[in-house]
Structure formats: structure tokens, C-alpha cells
Symmetry: C2
Subunit: 359 residues, 2 copies
């Protein structure tokens, strides 16, 4: 029998995992906070809890064979306690612990001798070249927990903040890449070809394949991502984000889960990242990761026009998440396929401009 | 607000409608017989009833804005009674009445002066050239309710059967095509390009696009299918199946719903047939129907190997339906994309042979 999978989380990543599970005929359940409830409201097997306590998760885990995650919000101590109780976590508590902590990530990159932007843990004595970037050591996403720092006085309140921050060198970035790795439960690691990611105000707004980088950057990015996944003992999808600076790759961040940079695999790759994550977590053989067409994904951010007014654009696919729009909130995405990433980008933007209110 | 859609049915077509509804963020509910329960067990909003009675359907309809169908099993009198009660049916009771009855279909084809195989309603006095085909006038599908007749004595029990039969000329068929039409609620009709369908023992086993027919057969098939959809007042997807005989098109059958011949639109067309059916039924603008890659779909029939043993084939996508295997029962399908339908067919068969037990 295929294991029953429990997913901690109920946002759009969980929703797309659910779609993939339908086609694979894998039984998935979701542990969801009340704020996410609407997003997965159309799936059965949704358990809503007030918080991600040990008791809530342990009870949820008793009805499934393996737990996986759509976010890094579960306290690390809880994850270790669950494993000690015998709950199967994929990825493991150890992987989640490193991946959820930007300082631990950077120590790992250092052990692997990977180039990363210069950084320091922020405290009252920290002296660092300005301008720089400040990031919370855990809990940030989609531009939250990230600040552009121009003046030393801006660092003072962060040094006294209730959460820990680090500061990081501001690089002259030529472009950004992401590589999705997929690790099976018994240690096979495969990667999707690198995609180019385009950010605005700290939020990923567009993802393209092929990334059309020069030289052997694609190969080096895949080799680096594989080394990170191996060192971390990852299971399932692990996303590795890179800066390209002067033809050199700097590791930016990692996420031990399905990732916004992989949504275009639904339409454009042999196996979607969601299916491959489920395959890995369920102990099934991984699916092929080749892209079979150039593609571009554009996130839909902000209020949308009524779907009744939306004339779909050929060769594009719309994915709505059932989320209430808020400033900067991703409420859907559109993926276009074409004969080049640039042509796909044009189509995806045409669709985006028709559906995003005021777009 | 987008209308809430109620689907009468809970098989694989309902399951794929559910997947499409997730991405469109449309609320769908399903009225399901106990035999189908497992197939949609992972969706919320599944109502299980013992039979498709007026009372069951009327109660189900009270919770949605519009009803649609994944099969033609609802009694026609019930459909008319629901409409008289004010329930919005898409397609209408009248469309369903004609489409569910092979004799009424043939009268319609006659009105439109469309070539069809010679036929007669079967009774004790019927004289007909042999060999021929006998078909139940309503209720048949996937080879059920179809007989190859070689001897006149084989017709006698059918003439006395509790259900009505017709007999039909056995044509020397060179190939079969299907055209999916999509009709919006306000009368726009569009079609997908024709696909080639390959049958074995009355069951569709493979579907290819492009159909690679000679001359203007594609255009004629689309024009004929459009005329049928218009005459029927269809709403949503209506499938029209054709025989090709000596370069001439004969209309075979129609189905007023999403159809096995359109499953490859999930991967290979701008808009899947499932999304377009929902768009039409919900009163939304229809999506583009172009294919953006050659593709082949192969049905998975019979027991499957464990998914844990299945090594996926590049450029193929597996769709499992959650059904218990029985002889001749479709339990899933696989779609391959490639640079030609023939190349896609090879990939799809390779995947099929790996997953079908003894395949």
C-alpha cells in the first residue's frame, strides 16, 4: 500500500500537492491553521487546528504514515519530539532545523566551501559595510523579514528586536537562478534544470525556463544544489536559490519543500515538483525532471478582476488559490508555454494584465 | 459570484472536473452513487445517494446554482421535472433527451442531412443485411450494449429484450475521429481540433492528435460537430464521434459531456476539456481550444502493477482514477507529448506497458 501522507500546511503549495495526489491516487491529509482554511476547503481530509503544537501534530500524525511540510513554521523542538515519538518526518527534523535557520544554512554552505554573500549575525556591536541587507534568521518569506539598510541607525532597533537578525553584503546581482532538487527516501538525488527567477521588492514575480545563462552556470548550479541536498539529508523537493555575480554563483537561500520557482513544472516538465515531492515522501521512484517546452510563470499578486470578465490567453494556464487578496499576497499564478522563455513571458504577462485588477 | 456547480456523477470524469475546478476556484459538488464513492473520496462536497431519483437530485440541486452531468443515466422524465421545478440544467433536459437516445440522435442527424450508417429499429419483423451491429437505444457505453451480429437467429432474443435495440450497417471503417465541441451558455460554439480514436472491442484504447487525416476532413468534421451542437442547443462539452469511410465522414455517436477522447487536452491544449466544460456551465467565457503539442493518450485497462514499482517515462503523465480494477474497466490513463503523435504513442505505450499488470 502507498503510505498515507500528512501535510503540515494548507496554503497554495498544499493545494497543488493535493491536485498531484489525486492523479497519483495517493491519500493526503492536511493540518491547517484557521487563516488558511479556505484555500483547501474543497479537499476532504482537512484538519483545522489553532496552533502547530506537539499535541495537535502528534494526533494528526497518528492517522497517517508520514508527515511532510509546506512551510517552516513548526517549532524545531516539536519536530525533534515527534521523531523521538516515532513519527516519520520527510524531510527530517534535522533537515528542517538547518533549512529554517539562515545562520545554520550559512554554516552549512561554509562547510561545503560554497561562495555566499559576506554576512554577520547582528548584535549591538556589529560593524558592517553599508548599504546592506538585513534578514531575520528564521521565519521570513516573500519579502517579510527582509530590510534594505542604508544608515547604521536603522540597524539599532533590529539589534534590540525580539527576533534575531543577520546582515548581508549587497551584491551587484546580474540575475537569480533557482534549482529544485528532489531526493528520494533512499538517497537518490535528481534536479530540475535551473530556472531564472525575477524578484521585485523581495517577492518572486516571474520564473522562466530556460534560464539562458552563459557558460556552464547551469551545470554548476545543479552540482551545488545536489551537494547541499546531500549534505542536508533532504527528502522530497529542496529549492536552492542563487545569485549570479560576474559569472560566479553565490548561494542565497534554501527551502526544504515545493517552491514558487517550480510551479511551471506543472505544465512544462515531465513530472511536476508536487508529484515528485509526493513520490519522494511516499517512497516511490522519482519521476523524470526534464522540461519538454520553454515556459514562464508569472505570479498573480493583489486583487483580481472577476473571472467572468477574463478572456483566457492561448497557451496559458491559470491557477487560482482561493485566497482573499491582500497587499503583496500571491493569490494565483499563470504559466505560459511557447517556443522560447521570452515568448512565453509575453503570453504570461498578457494573461496577468487581463486578470489582475488594474494590471 | 461564480455559480456553484453540481455534477451528477462521481466517476473519473467527475474527478477530473474536480481537479479543473480547483485551479479555477469554482465550487463544485458531486451527486454520487455508492458504487462510485471511492473515486471522488478525496474531494469535499460529495453527496452519496442510493439512486438518481427526482427527490435526491432536487435536494442536491437546492444547494447549487446549476446542474451538469458526467453520464446519461438520469431518467429523462426526471430531468424535465427538475427543469419545471426551476432547476438550471446545463445541458438542458431536451439536449440530454436526444443525446441519451440513439434513435433520437439519428433522427437529428437525418434532419441535418448528415451521412450516417444505415440503421433500423429492431423488432421481430426487422430484416437487415448481415453481418451488422446491434446497439441498445439507450444506456450503452464502453462496449456494453453493443453486439456484433453474424446470424439472424442472434437478433431474435434482442428483439424480445426488455430494452430497445437498433441494428446498424457494418462499415469498412478506415479510421475514427472525435471532435469535442464546447458551447457557452449564451450560444458561442467552439471546437477542439479533431483527434483520432482507436477502439478495440468497442472500447476506446488510444487517442492521438494530430489525427493526420487527408484533405479537408478535419474542417468538415469540425463543421459537422458544430452544426450538431447548435441543433441540439448544447451547453458545455459535446463529443461527436465519426467513422471515416472512403474519405467520407459518417456520424457515429454523440455524448453531451466531457469525453474520453478529450483527456489529452489536459496536457496538450490551451484549455482542458474539463476546464472548458466548467467555464461553459458556469457562464464564463470559453478558453482557447488550440493544441500546443502533438500528444497521445492511452487508456489503462485492467489490474495495475504497484505504483511503487512504476518507473515513469519522460514526457508522459499518469492519471489514476482510484477505481477497483475489473475486466474492461478503465482505471486510469497516460498522456504523452512529443514532436509527433506517433512518437507520443510510443512513449504512452511504454508507460502503459510498465504500469498495466501483465502489460
Amino acid at each position: 500500500m502507498t503510505p498515507r501522507i500528512g501535510v503540515i500546511g494548507g496554503g497554495q503549495l498544499a493545494r497543488m500537492l493535493f491536485s498531484a495526489a489525486l492523479d497519483l491516487d495517493i491519500e493526503v491529509s492536511f493540518l491547517v491553521r484557521p487563516t488558511d482554511e479556505g484555500i483547501l476547503g474543497r479537499a476532504a481530509n482537512v484538519v483545522v487546528v489553532g496552533d502547530l503544537s506537539f499535541e495537535s501534530i502528534a494526533q494528526f500524525a497518528s492517522g497517517v504514515d508520514v508527515l511532510t511540510f509546506e512551510h517552516e513554521l513548526t517549532p524545531v523542538a516539536t519536530l525533534h519530539a515527534l521523531e523521538e515519538r516515532g513519527v516519520c518526518l520527510r524531510p527530517s527534523a534535522k533537515t528542517m532545523e538547518v533549512a529554517a535557520n539562515k545562520l545554520a544554512q550559512r554554516e552549512l554552505f561554509g562547510r561545503l566551501k560554497l561562495p555566499i554573500p559576506r554576512f554577520a549575525k547582528l548584535n549591538r556591536d556589529t560593524v558592517f559595510d553599508l548599504p546592506c541587507i538585513a534578514k531575520t534568521i528564521s521565519g521570513g518569506y516573500d519579502g517579510r523579514g527582509v530590510r534594505w539598510i542604508n544608515e547604521a541607525t536603522e540597524l539599532e532597533p533590529l539589534a534590540d528586536d525580539s527576533v534575531e537578525w543577520l546582515v548581508e553584503e549587497l551584491l551587484e546581482v546580474e540575475g537569480e537562478l533557482a534549482v529544485l532538487t528532489v531526493s528520494s527516501a533512499d538517497g537518490d538525488i535528481t534536479t530540475y534544470p535551473p530556472v531564472r527567477t525575477i524578484q521585485r521588492e523581495g517577492i518572486c514575480v516571474e520564473v522562466q525556463w530556460p534560464a539562458t545563462m552563459t557558460g556552464d552556470i547551469d551545470e554548476r548550479a545543479q552540482a551545488t544544489a545536489t551537494a547541499i541536498a546531500r549534505e542536508l539529508g533532504a527528502v522530497g523537493v529542496l529549492a536552492v536559490e542563487f545569485f549570479v555575480v560576474g559569472g560566479k554563483l553565490y548561494v542565497n537561500e534554501i527551502a526544504p519543500r515545493v517552491h514558487n520557482s517550480g510551479h511551471l513544472t506543472i505544465e512544462a516538465a515531465s513530472t511536476s515538483q508536487f508529484e515528485n515531492h509526493l513520490r519522494a515522501v511516499a517512497g516511490l521512484p522519482l519521476g523524470p525532471t526534464n522540461f519538454n517546452t520553454p515556459a514562464t510563470m508569472v505570479n498573480l499578486i493583489g486583487p483580481l478582476n472577476p473571472i467572468a470578465d477574463y478572456q483566457a490567453v492561448p497557451d496559458t494556464r491559470l491557477h487560482l488559490y482561493g485566497k482573499t487578496p491582500r497587499a503583496g499576497r500571491k493569490v494565483g499564478h499563470v504559466t505560459a508555454t511557447a517556443t522560447s522563455a521570452a515568448a512565453a513571458s509575453q503570453l504570461a504577462h498578457r494573461a496577468r494584465d487581463r486578470i489582475v485588477s488594474g494590471g
